[in-house]
């Protein structure tokens, strides 16, 4: 299992009510179902993935975060998870607002465009960066609104979203993010993991 999934599951309280937005083939959901809570739902855009999830006994609906979260009432989940897809939406702001409407808390992870390798790619090669956590080329990337850990941090600040936990994953190392070390974390981390609330 991905290290990221283990970190996410550590943020979720036992037997809480969880929604995994963009749950893929249900890998994280299955892990949470077995270890953390059985009260878990998913929403996923790919039909094939939804079919896989349903076959695993997971409660998943076909849909997308931008258009389909409206059907869930306010604060109907304790935790809403959005794993590495915020940058792929037409309106990340709308999605973030929806996550924090539906969920009492949200866990958002982002691939960090501010990582030094990414910066070097653009600086020296002069081409759009392609790295392990950003594997696509400019012409086939689903990412519309790439951001850095710093961008996300500042954006949440601007929207008065509170950070309960801010974590940076740098290969295998997990570190806390604070205002003081933000620039450093932004340079060396592949993924940012945030537990936030309104």
């Amino acid at each position: 299992m991905k290290k990221e999934f283990k970190i996410i599951s550590d943020l979720i309280l036992k037997n809480s009510r969880v929604l995994d937005v963009g749950c893929g083939d249900g890998e994280l959901m299955s892990f949470l179902f077995k270890n953390i809570t059985q009260d878990i739902r998913g929403i996923e855009i790919s039909k094939t993935n939804v079919q896989k999830c349903i076959s695993k006994g997971l409660t998943v609906i076909e849909g997308n975060a931008e258009n389909d979260l409206y059907q869930f009432p306010d604060a109907s989940f304790d935790f809403v998870i959005l794993g590495q897809t915020l940058q792929a939406f037409l309106s990340p702001e709308k999605v973030l607002d929806e996550l924090l409407r539906v969920g009492k808390k949200a866990i958002v992870t982002i691939p960090n465009f501010g990582h030094w390798k990414v910066r070097l790619d653009l600086l020296f090669k002069g081409t759009m960066p392609v790295t392990a956590s950003l594997p696509h080329h400019w012409h086939n990337t689903p990412n519309l609104h790439m951001c850095t850990i710093k961008d996300f941090f500042n954006f949440c600040d601007y929207k008065n979203i509170k950070f309960i936990k801010s974590l940076a994953l740098n290969d295998e190392k997990l570190l806390n993010i604070s205002k003081g070390n933000l620039s450093k974390r932004n340079l060396f981390s592949n993924i940012g993991i945030f537990l936030i609330e309104k």
């Binding site: 079919q51 349903i54 997971l58 609906i61 849909g63």
Partner: protein, 377 residues
């Protein structure tokens, strides 16, 4: 009704108050079962049939000698595995395969009811089937499922009996019949009633059959069960056993010949008055209205785990209508999964060999069943 002597029937002694205000009792409900009810009685699935279906969902129908309508989904080793589950399927009230319907004999007159049969609703149809569950002394079903009108019955069942089934799989259906669908049903009914042989519903007394009208109704309906792409791919503009157009009104095109055939075989197995009554029941179906315009209220008391399935090319019960049910369930935090299956085969997809559909249905049932058993239910 001799031909129905050897099929399973439950005579319902209890009184059943119908939505139209009449009360019926002492009436037969014909049914079939597949598989074995286990000792815990926790493996029962109630399958609801669609408009022209019947209780013979699998195997060979002993009356028509044709294969069961859900042969791809139901049977040993199939998605609804009868080696594992006990399946009950009833011929709906108003039907013509042995259940109480317009072709039953009215004891008061000694003749068939015809249009003196009470107008029935999906609610009545479902309430009649509740007696079957009681008959088998099943405390809680594992699943209720069906496609099209069968899906409507599954929804109605959960609304009426919120905790009588662990799971529900309504397929390619709606919570309220659309204007388009009422219109299409009306077209079928008018075709039947325009046939001089219909005789105001008393055709059986006069040894007649409005087969031309019923056949036209079936032809029109059959088009709605398919999709434009499926028709185009299967028939295109191909000619029927001829090299060129005949400049006549014969069946020049294969699609014409196909529809005429569908119409003619249908009249051999289906009763025209039943067609009127059952289409009416579908038209009257409006679960939203019944719950003050709030569909969610229909399911508020239920803990049933739902799985809703629709098909991309179904324009009769499109995904948008199926999704309305999902939305209503999600808005009350119900346990609901939903997928739209990719298929070119139109509304009929649920009856056909559509592997993605069948595999997902199998997966849902089997994992849900394992979970129940793990919990010791």
């Amino acid at each position: 009704m001799n031909k129905f002597n050897n099929i399973k029937k439950l005579i319902i002694k209890d009184q059943l108050r119908l939505d139209c205000g009449q009360t019926i009792s002492d009436f037969p409900l014909a049914y079939e079962t597949y598989g074995k009810l286990n000792s815990k009685k926790n493996n029962a699935i109630l399958v609801f049939h669609a408009l022209t279906g019947d209780q013979f969902a699998a195997d060979i129908n002993p009356i028509t000698k044709k294969e069961g309508w859900w042969k791809y989904a139901l049977g040993p080793g199939k998605a609804i595995d009868t080696e594992k589950y006990f399946v009950i399927c009833a011929n709906v009230l108003g039907g013509c395969m042995g259940s109480f319907g317009p072709s039953s004999i009215n004891p008061k007159t000694g003749k068939t009811y015809g249009i003196d049969f009470p107008v029935i609703t999906i609610n009545d149809i479902v309430n009649a089937q509740y007696f079957l569950i009681k008959h088998f002394e099943i405390e809680k079903l594992f699943c209720v499922t069906g496609g099209s009108m069968g899906g409507m019955q599954a929804l109605q069942f959960v609304a009426n009996y919120p905790n009588l089934s662990h799971t529900a799989v309504p397929i390619a259906c709606t919570s309220n019949h659309s204007a388009q669908n009422i219109g299409l049903n009306e077209l079928g009914r008018q075709a039947i009633m325009a046939d001089a042989n219909w005789q105001n519903g008393k055709y059986e007394d006069n040894n007649l059959s409005p087969s031309k009208g019923l056949s036209v109704a079936r032809m029109a309906a059959h088009i709605t069960y398919l999709s434009k792409d499926a028709l185009q791919e299967k028939f295109g503009r191909n000619l029927q056993e001829r090299d060129d157009l005949k400049f006549s009104f014969d069946a020049d095109f294969q699609i014409e010949s196909y529809l005429r055939h569908q119409g003619s075989v249908f009249v051999d197995r289906f009763d025209a008055n039943s067609y009127l009554y059952i289409t009416r029941a579908m038209d009257y179906f409006d679960l939203n209205k019944k719950y003050d315009g709030n569909l969610s209220k229909a399911f508020e008391k239920s803990k049933t785990k739902f799985f809703i399935i629709s098909f991309t090319s179904d324009w009769l019960y499109p995904s948008s209508e199926n999704k309305e049910i999902v939305i209503a369930l999600n808005s009350i935090g119900a346990d609901v999964g939903y997928v739209e299956i990719e298929s070119e085969k139109g509304h009929d997809s649920f009856l056909l060999d559509v592997p993605d559909f069948l595999e997902t249905l199998r997966g849902f049932l089997n994992t849900s069943y394992e979970r129940l058993n793990e919990k010791g239910i």
